[in-house]
Amino acid sequence: MRKIPQMNAQSPVRRTPTRAVNWNRIQDETDLTVWNRLTSNFWLPEKVPLSNDIPSWATLTDYEQQLTIRVFTGLTMLDTVQASVGAVAMMPDAVTPHEEAVLTNIAFMESVHARSYSSIFSTLCSTQAIDEAFRWSEENPHLQKKARVVLDHYKATDPLRRKVASVFLESFMFYSGFYLPMHWSSRAKLTNTADLIRLIIRDEAVHGYYIGYKFQRALERVTEAERAEIKDFAFSMMFDLYEIEEAYTEELYDGVGLSEDVKKFLHYNANKALMNLGYEALFPSSVTDVNPAILAALSPNSDENHDFFSGSGSSYVIGKAVATEDDDWDF
């Protein structure tokens, strides 16, 4: 554990003055862009009418309900790790004061995500079922291993490795869990819960992008040999995490016959996590062909397969007029 400096401690020699963060002197424009993006995307679970899912919840079998609660408890645990350890561990590595501020936002939003799952639980489940799931999360070896691998890397001394762990958590490790609400949504079940999960998924994309961006900048400042070493580390960590995810997925989803479908989603997201770090994809397209219903649930109305070249490009309509109204356009 890092020692926290005491504000009121008597220090015999004051080496550097305490600095106030000045948002009118930006060293890295991306800090400001991401701050604006994150703050304008701010939300709370109360915004989503989760109680509308009560009738739908009742249509799930006991097994499906238990699976859903366990999946969400697993996600809660990762959000807890990211809020309390991950984002905080990266703060001393920040190269600008604005980066530190962005990390405080990331840490807080992870707490909002963790809190949201409890809102879902209190709306849909019995106290007994909730307590059972939290006990399960503490005893499940795969889930505990997932958390341990990431926590170990956060505690390591290297800022680059911490960023790799963070991007893998935000852009890869959540997705064995995110799959399930997208699956229910594609069956028109728990659609309000899915709306809430999509807000989390959107936040995680910005977090993965930002930490990945900071990782690439930090990589520019080290030697060629260190860069090669970090890349080896990243790919070998991905292999380790994938192995755990595979076992975790099978334990959760074999009973509903979805494991193979979930694994495609894992491959697809592993590739995106690596791209956030600036690396090439690992899994070939033959194993990343995610069920189109899941992609459609992830991204409703987005026309995700737009391909004018192949003649399948549909005409499109811009949903919101506001999007085209940017003051900077001259035409």
Partner: protein, 133 residues
């Protein structure tokens, strides 16, 4: 052969896509003016409401009527995590400039995306040349 103009931010995803594409391309950086027809390749940003989807340097580039006159199509990248706003910049540019949105892909693109864009651009320009004077 007509050209490819692209914008890439600090994450470098679009730059890596263009490098792997292996076609001559001009990067939007500072004041640039093009002199032949091109396809624009750009990432998409935007908040939860779809605001700010098109990067400011891309807007500045297209505000120049000379540049705008030569655009023939747009390719946009993004992240499906952004839901309905995925690759929104491409839709906005297509609508404002009255050109087709040719293709969308995620982040730095997959090998399949590269193959489709490469093949697609080839066919697209052949067709363009047969209809344009």
């Amino acid at each position: 052969m007509a050209g490819l103009v692209y914008y890439s931010s600090g994450s470098g995803n679009t730059r890596r896509f263009v490098e792997r594409l292996g076609l001559p391309a001009t990067r939007i950086a500072g004041e640039i003016r093009v002199s032949e027809p091109y396809v624009l390749l750009t990432p998409s940003y935007s908040d939860g409401e779809g605001r700010g989807a098109v990067a400011k340097p891309v807007i500045r580039f297209l505000n120049d009527p000379a540049n705008r006159a030569l655009i023939r199509g747009v390719i946009a990248s993004g992240n499906l995590n952004f839901g309905e706003h995925f690759a929104l910049a491409g839709k906005i540019i297509a609508a404002k400039c009255n050109v087709p949105l040719l293709y969308t892909f995620e982040l730095a693109g997959t090998d399949d995306d590269l193959a489709r864009v490469k093949q697609g651009l080839d066919t697209f320009w052949t067709r363009q040349r047969s209809i344009a004077p």
